[in-house]
């Protein structure tokens, strides 16, 4: 009998990989939920192909889900898995290089037949005669298909359907390995099938079979225990960035007292926000699936004109199409939130991969002098708060606002200590109806915010026509040069004035020193991990993560002045760095990677070290 050691560890990174049809996303999500409920902090990274179902068994069809869970704060899904669960040779091929030295590889050995190998492009079985096995990693081969068939032999199901349960077997095995209960997943299965399907039993049986296999098979030399994380009291859940964005928009509607009209055209990776919101019609949300992105933006703007909070969303190619309408929104000074869930570009690019390469597009991609605020979310949970902030600015300053998310945080999840709704910041909103009896001037401005008044159609006596042509304070079309200069200046000043409403910029680390890392968007988790690692080493490095990219915080200039070097890491070829260089005329340094995935913490550490 093999002795199974139980080892106490701080945390681990597990990656499930298999064919698109193998249910890896589901498996990963269940494993994550259970870990979170067991009291770990978590961060996940799903990664799937652009095709709906690429040919089964081929490298193009590999789908993966990685989770990092630990007894201390987890900021990123982890660079390299400690444990890799590979359901077929193609999945093995595409992921084995990432496995940490000394890690564990678990494979479904039943899927390594000649035909499977050939689909993955192997002539021979890479698990056999592989010097890495044992040296670089430990291999555990499990004939999962056969074991599942055996476990389900009593059930009246087609063999092909039985075999589909093998992901639950793998999940059960991992639960055993990390000493988890099956409770949560079993409850989930029961809820999903409601006793109506033989699949309910099959999945539960497969799950238990996997767990029991771990207990009895005597091939596992180690078992792990991750302590529960010390956490502040509260209600916890997991949430993806896209769901957080959806909920943030719902919250913005309720906080501002406005209906939300969410109008969009499907596109990866933004569509899930629509899917979420379309269910929430009892929260004052209306959703419109328009004929294209231009229409989607027009519908949202029409709704804002009517006194709702118009929101539109897309990803790169679709964001291009909205530019002209965003210009009209800026010119007519109506609130509008434009969500850009960034993906790999240019053009159609890498639709399911992440990138931060639409920053310049959102800052500058319109004709004329047309400044528009740009807000970026930093983590899945932050999508909620950042989009609420975007809506606040849109409504309080009467302006379109870009909200930037990205494919990574959109699909990843982290743990959320759910705030009480009442504790969230409010959004001030007033419709003007002429109550002060003064002659109405559509472009008269609030002296503080420089926002114009919001008058909706239906308001008696205040009839006026909005137009994208230049006009004067009274709303009359004007081709006068001086008026144009005045209006361009006022529109610019209004956007600049938004910065006065921010709180002070937070700095992680010392207030001055050698290196300031300045970043934005979904790279937060990886960067914060890297910076902390260097800080632990005693390096003179501090970190500012920007939520507001336009306008930049007023105190940023001073902060920057306190450091020798500003380093700007981004998943692109250097965009924010250009903005910083242009704004402060400093020689800010760029650190970039553009591979359709998040940074690796280790790479960042190496990159930052060069400036220290």
């Amino acid at each position: 009998m093999v002795d199974t050691q139980q080892i106490q560890i701080e945390g681990a990174v597990v990656r499930f990989v298999g064919d698109s049809g193998d249910g890896m996303q589901l498996t990963g999500t269940q494993f994550t939920d259970t870990s979170a409920i067991a009291g770990n902090d978590i961060s996940t990274f799903p990664d799937f192909p652009a095709e709906i179902r690429a040919p089964a068994g081929t490298p193009a069809g590999v789908s993966g889900f990685q989770v990092n869970f630990a007894a201390s704060a987890v900021e990123a899904p982890g660079d390299q898995p400690d444990i890799l669960v590979a359901m077929n040779p193609a999945a093995y091929k595409m992921n084995i290089e990432d496995l940490k030295t000394g890690g564990v590889l678990i494979v479904n050995s039943d899927n390594f037949s000649d035909i499977d190998l050939r689909k993955a492009g192997y002539e021979t079985n890479p698990l056999e005669d592989n010097p890495m096995v044992g040296e670089k990693f430990q291999l555990i081969s499990v004939p999962m298909t056969a074991l599942v068939e055996e476990a389900l032999k009593e059930l009246d199901m087609k063999p092909v359907h039985k075999r589909r349960c093998k992901n639950f077997f793998a999940l059960g095995l991992m639960y055993w390995m990390f000493d988890r209960t099956l409770e949560y997943t079993e409850a989930w299965i029961l809820k999903k099938f409601g006793g109506k399907d033989v699949l309910e039993q099959a999945n539960i049986k497969a799950l238990r079979a996997g767990y029991n296999y771990g207990d009895t098979a005597e091939i596992f030399t180690r078992r792990y225990k991750v302590k529960s994380t010390p956490m502040p009291a509260g209600t916890y859940r997991q949430i993806t960035g896209n769901s957080a964005t959806a909920y943030g928009l719902v919250a913005a509607g309720v906080k501002s007292g406005l209906n939300v009209v969410y109008s969009t055209y499907p596109i990866t990776p933004a569509s899930d926000i629509l899917h979420d919101l379309s269910k929430l019609k009892n929260f004052g949300v209306k959703t419109v699936q328009a004929e294209d992105e231009i229409a989607a933006c027009g519908v949202a703007l029409g709704a804002s004109y009517g006194g709702s909070l118009g929101v539109t969303a897309s990803s790169g190619p679709g964001i291009c199409l909205k530019a002209e309408f965003v210009g009209l929104a800026a010119m007519t000074e109506l609130p509008l939130v434009i969500v850009d869930v960034q993906r790999g570009g240019p053009s159609t690019g890498l639709p399911t991969k992440t990138e931060q390469s639409d920053l310049m597009l959102t800052l500058f991609g319109r004709n004329g002098e047309c400044p528009v605020p740009v807000i970026a979310a930093s983590t899945p949970v932050d999508c909620f708060h950042a989009v609420l902030e975007a809506a606040r600015i849109a409504v309080e300053y009467m302006t379109p606002v870009y909200f930037l998310s990205d494919g990574f945080i959109a699909n990843s999840s982290d743990l959320w200590n759910v705030p009480a709704f009442a504790d969230l910041p409010g959004i001030k909103q007033v419709f003007y109806t002429g109550e002060d009896g003064k002659p109405y001037k559509p472009y008269e401005r609030d002296p503080e915010t420089l926002a114009r008044k919001w008058v909706t159609p239906g308001t008696p006596k205040l009839q006026n026509t909005l137009t994208g042509l230049e006009k004067n304070e009274k709303g009359d079309i004007s081709y006068d040069g001086k008026n144009h200069a005045l209006m361009c200046g006022l529109r610019k000043d209004k956007i600049a004035a938004i910065a006065k409403s921010y709180g002070p910029t937070k700095i992680l680390g010392a207030q001055s020193g050698k290196v300031l890392v300045l970043a934005w968007g979904g790279t937060y988790g990886h960067i914060v991990s890297a910076v902390k690692e260097l800080q632990k080493e005693g390096a003179s490095i501090s970190y500012v993560h920007l939520r507001h990219i336009n306008p930049l915080p007023l105190d940023l200039e001073e902060i920057i002045g306190n450091f020798d070097t500003v380093v700007v890491p981004e998943i692109n070829l250097g965009q924010l760095v250009q903005v910083i260089r242009a704004k402060y005329a400093i020689d800010a340094q760029s650190v970039t990677q553009i591979m359709g995935k998040p940074f690796k913490v280790a790479d960042l550490v190496t990159a930052f070290r060069k400036f220290l």
């Binding site: 956490m231 009291a233 919250a251 009892n282 027009g298 519908v299 006194g307 026509t465 079309i477």
Partner: protein, 355 residues
């Protein structure tokens, strides 16, 4: 819904203070005057009238109306109007567009608005030319037209705006022309009272770049023979002393001598038939083979998109009750932690993930 009693207005109540900047003699003036009269006669609250337009000479229209208005961007007015109706089903939306704005750059939006039957009156000013950009041919220009952009004659075949709308599932389709205020007024009123999208093509003369484009049909001298005013339930007859009529020959609508035709065979106009085939056949008629039909070609009922969106939202609200934000945020898979411990190293720039 019951309309409240009409309010007493005059045309002036719908006239804005802005100088009208169309060319002297432009057909747009007569359309503007008629719409102002129509609105006054209908007596719906003026603050609830909203005119949404794109870009073009015609699309300047809302600037001259003392209603709420949105002069948007080129070709996209149907989208803004749709959003407005989704947000505000209490407003009367009028959309103004041109043959370029509505059928060239904006063709798709117009088609989808028609398909969705979004409740609004669409006034399509067809002058068969791009006016504002100074005289290039448009999708309704006749083939071989010599314009600034086609010195050797255009080669594209024109689009039939009515057929286009009918194929997209239009519930109200009509045609009228700028020199007949009485006809325009009647059509506009019927269009406004229709529940759904009413598409009205208005033949509009551009004196500068396409003067007399419709004279071969609407000119005083010839119109009796070359156009026919459709009237619901009436046999379709026209010409001097109604000497000509339309009859069916298979699926073709053809012109016959009234005197030589069995009265029972004369086509009776029925805009309300469920099938759009008759309207489509009529929409294809034109000089010189047949008279151009004016008036309402089709008028049927079908649910509206804006109505259904709002009804569905109301139904969900009724079924599930008003949403509870705290419940939504917690979701279906949350758990509580009672002890209160804090990470040492918890640092978030904006909000704390864990307080």
């Amino acid at each position: 819904m019951n309309q409240p009693a009409p309010i007493k207005y005059t045309k002036k109540d719908f006239t804005s203070s802005k100088d009208v900047k169309w060319c002297p003699g432009c057909g747009d003036y007569a359309i503007l005057a008629t719409v102002q009269k129509t609105m006054a006669d209908l007596g719906r609250p003026k603050e609830k009238q909203v005119v949404v337009s794109g870009i073009g000479c015609s699309s300047r229209f809302p600037v001259y109306m003392d209603t709420h208005g949105f002069h948007t961007i080129h070709g996209r007015a149907p989208t803004v109007a749709t959003g407005l109706r989704v947000a505000r089903p209490d407003l009367d939306v009028w959309m103004v567009t041109g043959d370029g704005d509505g059928l060239s750059i904006g063709g798709n939006h117009l088609m989808h608005a028609v398909r969705r039957n979004v409740e609004m009156v669409v006034l399509l000013f067809n002058n068969r030319i791009y006016g504002l950009t100074k005289g290039q041919y448009s999708p309704t220009s006749e083939q071989n037209k010599v314009t600034k952009s086609t010195p050797y004659g255009s080669v594209d075949a024109p689009l039939n705006p009515l057929l286009f709308a009918l194929a997209a599932g239009a519930t109200f389709v009509a045609r009228t022309w700028d020199t007949n205020p009485r006809h325009m007024d009647a059509v506009f009123k019927a269009a406004r009272q229709h529940k759904g999208l009413s598409l009205v093509e208005i033949w509009q003369n551009c004196v500068i770049f396409n003067d007399g484009a419709f004279d071969n049909v609407v000119d005083r001298e010839v119109k009796e023979e070359r156009l026919v005013e459709l009237e619901e339930g009436k046999p379709i007859v026209f010409g001097k002393d109604k000497s000509k009529c339309l009859v069916l020959d298979g699926l073709d609508v053809v012109v016959r001598d009234t005197a030589l035709t069995d009265p029972a065979k004369i086509l009776v106009h029925n805009p309300r038939s469920q099938s759009p085939t008759l309207a489509m056949a009529l929409a294809q008629l034109s000089f010189p083979d047949a008279p151009t039909p004016m008036g309402i070609l089709r008028q049927v009922e079908r649910p509206t998109y804006d109505g259904d969106v709002n009804e569905q939202a109301a139904q969900v609200l009724k079924d599930r009750g008003p949403g509870n934000m705290d419940k939504l945020l917690r979701g279906s898979a949350s758990w509580k932690i009672e002890t209160d411990e804090v990470f040492e190293d918890a640092w978030k720039p904006f909000v704390s993930k864990k307080k």
